[in-house]
C-alpha cells in the first residue's frame, strides 16, 4: 500500500529541512528507540576501555598483588571478580581486555570495509557489461564463492597458525575473512541501484559516467556494508575469543576475553566460576552493544521508517 505517497500532498506541519532536520530526527529516533541508546552507551564505554582500560583497574592486568594475589580466590572486596589461576585480578583484566579485543575487531573491520567496499562497487558497476573489468569482477566473485565453502573458523585457525599467533596476524586473518561479506553486500546494492530509474535518468540527462558512478550509485550502495560492519565487529570479537580459546589467538598471559575464559575453563567443573564467567559476560555485553547499534542504524537509515 502506497500510504506515504497518499500522504504527500496533505497539509500538515511544514517539514524542517537539511542537517538540523537530520539531527532532530536522530534525537527523536534515539529517544524512541531505547535499545539503540543502550547500544550507543555500550559502544562508547567499550571504546573508552580500549583506550584507558589497562590503566584504570585496581591492579595491573598482569600484576600479582603481593598481599592478596593468591590464585583462585573468589570475589571479595580486594578482588571484585576474584583472582584467576595465576593470581591475577580478574576485574582488572576484564576491563583491560578491550585494548586487545576491540583493537583487533575495529581494525580488522575497518580494513575489511576499506578493501571490500571498493571491490564490491567495482564488481557491481562493471558486472554484466562487456570488457575486461567485467571479466575481472566475474573472476573475483568465483573466487569468493570458493572461499565461502570453507568453514570460517577452521580457515581463521589455519591462517593464524600459518602466520603465527599474534595480534597483527589475527587482524590480517579476520580482514581476509570479513572482506568478502562487504564485497557481496556492496555489489548487490550497486547492482540494484544500477537498474534504478534515477540512474537511468542521470545517464539520459548526460551526466558523465564518473559522476553516475561516484555521485549516484556509490553513495546509495554504502548503507548495507555500513550496517553490517557493526555486526562484523561483534563477529570479529567472537572469532578472536574462539581462536584464543583453542590457543591460536593472542598469546598467554595477555588480557584477552577468550583467553581468560579458556584459562578458567578447567575450574568450572570444580565450581570456581569467576575466572571464566566475567570475561564471557563482558564479551557478550560488548558484542550485544554493537549489534544494537547496527540494528538501530538500519532502522534510522531506512527512509520508510520515517513516516
Amino acid at each position: 500500500m502506497a500510504q506515504p505517497a497518499v500522504l504527500a500532498d496533505i497539509e500538515g506541519p511544514t517539514p524542517k529541512g537539511g542537517l538540523s532536520r537530520e539531527l532532530a530526527y536522530f534525537w527523536y529516533f534515539t529517544r524512541q528507540d531505547r535499545l539503540f541508546l543502550v547500544g550507543l552507551v555500550i559502544v562508547g564505554l567499550s571504546i573508552f576501555l580500549a583506550a584507558f582500560g589497562p590503566y584504570i583497574g585496581p591492579y595491573g592486568p598482569q600484576e600479582i598483588d603481593s598481599a592478596s594475589g593468591v590464585a583462585l580466590t573468589g570475589p571479595s572486596g580486594d578482588h571484585w571478580f576474584g583472582t584467576d589461576n595465576v593470581g591475577f585480578d580478574v576485574f582488572s583484566r576484564v576491563i583491560a581486555a578491550p585494548r586487545i579485543d576491540l583493537v583487533i575487531a575495529l581494525a580488522s573491520t575497518a580494513l575489511a570495509l576499506a578493501i571490500g567496499v571498493p571491490l564490491g562497487a567495482f564488481a557491481g558497476h562493471f558486472g554484466g557489461r562487456p570488457g575486461i573489468p567485467s571479466l575481472l569482477s566475474e573472476a573475483l566473485l568465483r573466487v569468493l564463492d570458493v572461499l565461502q565453502a570453507f568453514p570460517i573458523f577452521i580457515l581463521a585457525l589455519a591462517l593464524v597458525s600459518a602466520t603465527g599467533a599474534s595480534q597483527g596476524n589475527v587482524i590480517a586473518a579476520l580482514t581476509f575473512l570479513q572482506a568478502p561479506v562487504f564485497v557481496r553486500l556492496t555489489r548487490g546494492a550497486a547492482l540494484s541501484n544500477e537498474s534504478k530509474l534515477y540512474v537511468d535518468a542521470a545517464r539520459c540527462s548526460g551526466a558523465p559516467e564518473r559522476a553516475v558512478a561516484f555521485r549516484h550509485v556509490l553513495p546509495n550502495s554504502l548503507a548495507p556494508a555500513l550496517i553490517a560492519s557493526s555486526v562484523a565487529v561483534g563477529q570479529a570479537i567472537l572469532i578472536t575469543a574462539g581462536l584464543s580459546f583453542v590457543g591460536a589467538g593472542v598469546p598467554i598471559p595477555k588480557a584477552e576475553w577468550g583467553l581468560m575464559i579458556s584459562q578458567g575453563a578447567n575450574q568450572m567443573i570444580l565450581g570456581k566460576w569467576w575466572p571464566s564467567l566475567f570475561p564471557g559476560l563482558f564479551l557478550g555485553i560488548t558484542v550485544m552493544g554493537y549489534a544494537l547499534v547496527g540494528e538501530g542504524l538500519r532502522k534510522f537509515l531506512d527512509p520508510t521508517n520515517r513516516i
Binding site: 570458493v146 585457525l157 597458525s161 603465527g164 583453542v246 591460536a248
Partner: protein, 337 residues
C-alpha cells in the same frame, strides 16, 4: 523434467568450485609453518634422514607436480597419512566425523523445531506483543555470547551444582562399550541396535553439548523466521487476502511457505559454520570429533590431516549449498532453471 534440468545445471557449477577448493586446500597447507619431516623424525633428525622423508612425502618435487599427485590421491579416496596418529587420514576422519555430525545435525534439528514456531509467533504478535519481549532479548543475548562459554556455564549449573548430567568427558562413559557401528553416531546407533545401556550413557552425555548448540543457534533461526515472516505479512497479497476476509490461520499458513526460503539459507549457513565452529564446543566437552582432530592437527603441523579435514568440510558445505538451492527451487516457482 524441470527439476532434472535444474539439478544438472546446478551440478555444473559444483565442478569448478570443487577444483577451486582443492587448490585452496593445497596452497593453504603449503604455507603452514613447521617442517613435517622434522615432526615425523623428532629433534634427533639428521640431514640425510630429513631428505629421505621429504622424498618419501614428495616434498622435494615442484609445487605443480605435488598438486597433481595430491589430486590423483584424493580422486582415489586417499587423503594421506596423519603424522600424529599414524593412521590414514580417511580412517581418522571417518571415525570422528559421525560424532561431530551427530552433534550438529541434532542441534540444528532441535533449533529448527523450536526456532520456527517462536519466530512465527513473534512475527504474528508484532513488535509490542509479549513474545517479542521474550524472543528479542533472548536473540540479542544468545547471538552475542561465545558458544563455548555457554557450554561452560551449563556445565557449572547442570553438572557441578545440580548434578543432573554426567561429567563433560566425551561421548560415552569409560567402561560402557559403544554400540555396534552403523552410522557411527553413538546415540543413533544405540537406538538402532537396541543397546539401552549405551543409549543411556551416550544420550546423557549428549544433552549438555546439544543444549549449548540449541541455546546459541536457535537465536539466528528465530530472528530470520521472524523478519522473513514480517516481510511476507506486510506484502501486498497478505493485505489483499485480509481485505477479502480470509481467516488469520489460512493467511499465516500461506505466508509461512513464502517465508521459508531465507530460513533454509540461514540453516545452510549455520551448518557450514558449525562443521568447523563446533570445535569450540567439542573441546569444552572433550567430544573427540572431527573438529577437535583438526585443531590438534593444526597445532602439530599435521599437513595431511589438516588438508583432509578442510577438504571434507568444504565439500560438505558445497553439498549443503546445493541442497539449499534445490529447496529454494522446490519452494519458489519463480526460479528459472
Amino acid at each position: 523434467m524441470r527439476v532434472v534440468l535444474y539439478i544438472a545445471r546446478r551440478l555444473l557449477f559444483v565442478v569448478p568450485q570443487a577444483i577451486g577448493i582443492s587448490v585452496v586446500t593445497f596452497v593453504l597447507v603449503r604455507v603452514l609453518p613447521g617442517d613435517p619431516a622434522l615432526v615425523l623424525l623428532g629433534t634427533n633428525a639428521t640431514e640425510s634422514s630429513i631428505q629421505a622423508v621429504e622424498e618419501r612425502l614428495g616434498l622435494d618435487k615442484p609445487l605443480y607436480e605435488q598438486y597433481w599427485l595430491y589430486i590423483k590421491d584424493v580422486a582415489q579416496g586417499d587423503l594421506g597419512t596423519s603424522l600424529i596418529t599414524g593412521n590414514p587420514v580417511r580412517e581418522d576422519l571417518l571415525d570422528r566425523l559421525p560424532a561431530t555430525l551427530e552433534l550438529i545435525l541434532l542441534g540444528l534439528l532441535l533449533s529448527l523445531l523450536i526456532g520456527i514456531p517462536l519466530g512465527v509467533i513473534t512475527a504474528l504478535s508484532g513488535s509490542k506483543g509479549w513474545p517479542d519481549r521474550l524472543t528479542s532479548p533472548y536473540g540479542l543475548f544468545a547471538g552475542s555470547i561465545p558458544d563455548f562459554w555457554v557450554g561452560l556455564i551449563l556445565i557449572l549449573i547442570f553438572y557441578r551444582y545440580l548434578d543432573w548430567v554426567p561429567a563433560p568427558l566425551g561421548q560415552i562413559q569409560i567402561g560402557v562399550s559403544p554400540p555396534d557401528k552403523i552410522t557411527g553416531m553413538y546415540v543413533v546407533d544405540s537406538v538402532l541396535t537396541g543397546n539401552w545401556e549405551a543409549f543411556k550413557s551416550s544420550g546423557s552425555r549428549l544433552i549438555l553439548p546439544l543444549a549449548t548448540l540449541v541455546f546459541v543457534y536457535t537465536a539466528p533461526i528465530v530472528k530470520m523466521t521472524r523478519s522473513s515472516m514480517d516481510e511476507v505479512l506486510n506484502s501486498g497479497f497478505v493485505d489483499h487476502f485480509e481485505a477479502l476476509g480470509l481467516s488469520r490461520r489460512s493467511i499465516v499458513l500461506k505466508a509461512l511457505k513464502n517465508a521459508l526460503p531465507p530460513v533454509v539459507t540461514i540453516l545452510g549457513v549455520l551448518f557450514g559454520y558449525l562443521l568447523g565452529g563446533a570445535v569450540l564446543v567439542e573441546i569444552v566437552f572433550s567430544w573427540g570429533g572431527a573438529g577437535q582432530y583438526a585443531v590438534q592437527a593444526i597445532a602439530n603441523a599435521d599437513f595431511a590431516a589438516i588438508q583432509g579435514f578442510v577438504l571434507i568440510a568444504a565439500v560438505f558445505s558445497l553439498l549443503t549449498y546445493l541442497v539449499v538451492d534445490l529447496l529454494y527451487f522446490a519452494l519458489d516457482p519463480r526460479i528459472k532453471y
